[in-house]
């Protein structure tokens, strides 16, 4: 290393006297832009408190948004940990810190789609068409396969030819409504990720 360093200084020294600053075209006078830091990007945003939807540490997050939620055009522009939250104290893991890009993922679903039997593609369908068809398929299957009594004559009122997996990232309130619907139909093939 000693040798290299000495060697370099020697070589560099040769050039020092050769030319002048002005020839390079960027003398001090031309550096017109004064030093500045980037404008703070959270200015004039709306804050909403939420919890991270990934693991069950349930870190508190603050979502910064622009636009009006009531008008349906609120866009989340940034997400950060909630420093008031007792568990995470403002911190977030590599997933939580990038939540904004989950919301705006290119593979977010935006429209109901149907894939017809044998087809190689999804096609857009209206909500009404999709929901009416789903209700019809479910009712037909329930009516055909519902077991009111077992072989011993005991009332069992079950429907096992259709099943459902519920989402363990939905809210309690969604879960309760889902539970009510599934059980009122007599579904037993009913699980969530807790099974895994």
């Amino acid at each position: 290393m000693q040798i290299s360093r000495r060697g370099f200084i020697k070589v560099a020294g040769v050039g020092v006297a050769v030319t002048t600053v002005g020839a390079f075209g960027f003398g001090e006078a031309e550096a017109a832009v004064v030093a500045h830091v980037r404008p703070f990007k959270l200015a004039n945003t709306m804050e909403t408190r939420n919890t991270c939807p990934y693991c069950s540490v349930a870190c508190g997050i603050i979502m910064y948004s622009k636009g009006d939620l009531k008008k349906g055009d609120a866009t989340i522009t940034h997400i950060e940990g909630d420093a008031d939250h007792p568990t995470n104290r403002g911190t977030l893991c590599p997933k939580g810190a990038a939540l904004k890009d989950f919301i705006h993922s290119e593979t977010r679903l935006k429209y109901p789609m149907v894939r017809k039997p044998g087809s190689n593609k999804f096609e857009r369908v209206s909500w009404d068409t999709a929901l009416d068809r789903i209700a019809r398929l479910m009712k037909d299957d329930r009516d055909k396969n519902f077991v009111a009594k077992n072989a011993d004559g005991v009332t069992v009122n079950r429907w096992t030819s259709t099943g459902m997996l519920a989402a363990s990232a939905t809210t309690n309130e969604t879960a309760w409504l889902t539970y009510k619907v599934a059980r009122s139909l007599g579904l037993l093939g009913f699980d969530n990720q807790a099974r895994v």
């Binding site: 568990t87 039997p117 398929l137 939905t170 009122s184």
Partner: protein, 811 residues
């Protein structure tokens, strides 16, 4: 979790085994680093891999996956032989002194009553001796040969440090180092916390893995105390909530159970519930079962649930099998017995075992509905992606609806974290395109079916017609309305049992807690353990007062913690038999001569005298169980069983494959591989850069960990001629995948029963949709078999083979 994330700061020793908190729960792991930095706490990691948690541990010990019970029973044996038991705790708060029936015995890996054809036990001898007064017999001196203590001592005696090394591959001196550190927490003023996750549950004996650690924690006196406990880290943001609310085949909210075919009427159903105390003066809280059940039925069916029809008992379906769990459903689907399937925020094509079987099963469905904010492989199971999803699209006749839902940022409601906190959150963004709330979608499906039943009639429409639906907007029930139903309300005036002229709760008012629930139909409550979360005082889950008196780490006014806003379960056990804290510096509640008082809501009746009522009020004994009676399918004590695919035979019972009581479907049994053909021990796991199959849709996380890989040791890489960054093929009896190779010192071969065992680590975050590179999930390889008690798939231990391969998988 028995405790809370923030309580981990109070511990002296953290044992991470069966989990990898630093990797999978980084912000919760913060409290481990706080305990280390501020209390001088130590961290032990026991894992087949030197993990991110291990990277900041004080001590790391390797273990072969699937052998945790041998290790843990070895620890119990060590504590017994070295007299490292918290004796006052164990004698007073566990069933250590109770006498067990004479017929009960254990031999060669099996307990009394095994039926190899049924793969099940006659459990009649797995119980206590009962005296003429109806109470369990006990010998406080622990001299009686049939007392739990003496049976346990005998049972664990074979798990010596040498046996642990032989089974687990953990060098004896490393095991002894772990044992000596753990044993120190038998002191009344030292405590240990157990942090575990799917590394313990995803085994064919997952429930027993957890139970074994719980037994050790009871012997050490570490349950119910600050900085102690059994802390399940849990996977998804509301996996606790969905379990609490009973979205499982066999559950009713609040850990009640659906009836089976044998329970033909309500009286029969109740006859095996509402347990009477097994010891004098005990609470046996499940005596209130009927109040919880009736109030649930009122919440479901309103006026249609009445005394004359046993509160609509027949409106609920009954089970003819223990459960229609996910594995059973896919088996039935594979057999052509299932026509429709709805996946709400669930991606089973990558989340359930044996992907080939899953694809075949889905292809036999008439219709599938998916509800998700993101693309899923499941919703596109029919789409050909070359090697990554090699299906014959045209031959698949399944009609698939893919419904776009909102995500967390666009919706309001509560999630329950692993510390049982119900935390409310608010919407901040507008949904993209036509995405809709799950509540709207479920309401639409229901209302449209109901309309069809009104118009056409059909099979037993009564529960559909009578389902309570008193929402402001029937098309989209509001989260607050649903939360109020979960909390419960008075249907009619609730009278004071002590004075009938007084009304405790007026009709229509929200209940203040489950203590107000009635079994006469005057109260409705969706989920009894949540009662208190949305009272007349408002939405308690939305409370954001982060004060923490005296810095104990409990945050009692932050959100709501079930049950009854209690932050540490079994907290009565933090005090001795006289009601004084075992460790004055870690007081939670103490008996002040008239009542229990302190930082937390007492987990006992506030005026229950300390030497009269035991801390484990949900058990009819009032104590915790070292001997589990008939509650576990494998037996009252844990036993080491190998995974169904294991590199060595079970050294304590060479004739037994896997767990002898696990349900195995015939086709799946034929697809178990053996170690001669598949000599490498595989395990699957998460990486910190990703969350399951979600974040591969996120450009940031895709950049941080872009491509599917497997991890192997330098030793195995040398044997196979593989270098870091090479492509390798990994295959099991069920499938084959290609991955990049990460060659690491963090995995080393283990010597088990004299044989060198190589470990192959297979992370799980890639598929054929999203921003990350296309890849495979480990479920292409894993066996279709689950835990005996929970049917959770055995994702953590199976067999594969591996070779270097050329070029990437084509797609």
């Amino acid at each position: 979790m028995t405790n809370a994330w923030t309580d981990i700061k109070n511990t002296d020793l953290v044992v991470i085994m069966g989990g990898n908190a630093a990797e999978a729960h980084p912000c919760g792991f913060k409290w481990v680093t706080e305990a280390k930095a501020n209390r001088g706490a130590k961290l032990i990691v026991v894992d087949p891999r030197y993990t991110r948690s291990a990277s900041v541990a004080d001590f790391y010990a390797p273990i072969r996956q699937g052998t945790d019970i041998a290790f843990l029973l070895g620890l119990i044996n060590y504590c017994i032989l070295n007299d490292k038991i918290q004796w006052d705790y164990a004698k007073a708060y566990t069933n250590i002194s109770y006498l067990v029936k004479d017929g009960f015995a254990y031999k060669d890996g099996l307990f009394t009553g095994y039926d190899p054809v049924k793969r099940d036990y006659d459990k009649s001898t797995w119980d206590y001796q009962v005296g003429p007064d109806g109470y369990v017999l006990a010998d406080e001196t622990l001299q009686h040969p049939r007392c739990v203590w003496n049976l346990l001592k005998e049972h664990v005696s074979i798990y010596t440090p040498e046996m642990v090394e032989r089974i687990c591959g953990t060098p004896k001196e490393k095991f002894l180092k772990v044992a000596s550190m753990i044993a120190e927490t038998s002191s009344k003023t030292k405590t240990m916390t157990s942090m575990y996750a799917l590394g313990w549950t995803q085994h064919s004996k997952g429930s027993q893995n957890i139970r074994t650690m719980a037994m050790l924690q009871l012997l050490l006196g570490n349950i119910g105390v600050r900085g102690g406990g059994m802390n399940a880290l849990r996977g998804h943001s509301n996996i606790q909530g969905l379990t609490d609310i009973g979205l499982m085949s066999n559950l009713i909210p609040g850990y009640l159970n659906l009836a089976t075919d044998k329970e033909k009427d309500f009286a029969t159903y109740m006859s095996t519930r509402g347990f009477k105390p097994l010891r004098p003066t005990q609470m046996s809280y499940w005596q209130n079962y009927k109040k919880f059940f009736v109030s649930f039925q009122k919440a479901m069916f309103g006026d249609a649930a009445k005394p004359e029809n046993d509160f609509a008992y027949d409106y609920l379906p009954k089970l003819d099998v223990p459960s229609y769990d996910m594995l059973r459903m896919f088996e039935l689907m594979h057999n052509g017995k299932i026509n429709g399937y709805i996946c709400q925020g669930f991606n089973p094509l990558l989340a359930a075992p044996n992907r080939k079987k899953l694809t075949e099963a889905f292809s036999k469905l008439k219709f599938m509905v998916t509800m998700d904010p993101l693309e899923t492989e499941t919703s596109r199971f029919w789409e050909n992606h070359g090697e990554h999803n090699d299906v014959d699209t045209a031959s698949i006749q399944t009609e698939v609806y893919q419904l776009p839902t909102t995500c967390f940022a666009e919706e309001e409601g509560a999630l329950v974290n692993s510390g049982r906190w119900l935390q409310w959150h608010w919407a901040g963004g507008s949904p993209p395109g036509e995405a809709k709330h799950d509540t709207w979608i479920m309401a639409q499906i229901f209302l449209r079916m109901k309309k069809l039943y009104q118009a056409e009639g059909g099979a037993f429409p009564d529960p559909i017609m009578n389902l309570t639906w008193n929402y402001h907007d029937a098309n989209e029930p509001e989260p607050e309305e649903l939360a109020k139903e979960l909390n419960g309300y008075a249907v009619a005036d609730v009278k004071d049992p002590a004075d009938a002229t007084k009304t405790l709760v007026a009709a229509g008012k929200q209940l203040s807690g489950f203590g107000q629930l009635q079994d006469d139909g005057s109260t409705a409550c969706g989920c009894w353990i949540y009662s208190g979360c949305f009272t007349e005082a408002g939405n308690i889950m939305a409370k954001r007062d982060n004060s923490d008196p005296e810095d104990v780490g409990l945050f009692p006014k932050w959100a709501f913690s079930w049950p009854a806003n209690r932050r540490i379960l079994y907290n009565r056990a933090s005090a001795d038999i006289t009601g004084k804290a075992w460790d004055p510096s870690r007081k939670i509640i103490e008996w002040d001569g008239a009542k229990w008082a302190g930082y937390d809501v007492p987990d006992i009746a506030p005026t229950a005298k300390p030497d009269v009522v035991g801390p484990f009020i949900m058990n009819p004994e009032g104590t915790a169980r070292l001997f589990a009676r008939g509650t576990m399918r494998e037996g009252p004590f844990p036993v080491h069983y190998e995974p169904f695919e294991a590199p060595i035979k079970n050294v304590i019972a060479p004739g037994i494959r896997g767990n002898p009581v696990v349900r195995v479907f015939k086709d799946d049994a034929e697809q178990f591989g053996n170690s001669d053909e598949f000599p490498l021990a595989a395990t699957s796991y998460r990486l910190t850069e990703h969350f399951h199959y979600w974040t591969k849709h996120n450009r940031v996380n895709a950049a941080l960990q872009p491509e599917f890989f497997v991890e192997i040791s330098y030793e195995l890489a040398d044997e196979k001629g593989v270098k870091a960054g090479d492509w390798v093929r990994v295959w099991s009896k069920r499938g084959s995948i290609k991955a990049k190779a990460v060659v690491t010192r963090r995995i080393r071969p283990l010597i088990c029963d004299g044989k060198k065992v190589h470990v192959v680590g297979i992370p799980l975050h890639w598929g054929f949709t999203g921003a990350a590179r296309k890849g495979f999930g480990p479920n292409t390889l894993t066996p279709f078999v689950g835990d005996a008690n929970s049917d959770t798939p055995e994702f953590k231990a199976w067999l594969v083979n591996l070779e270097k391969t050329d070029g990437p998988a084509v797609s």
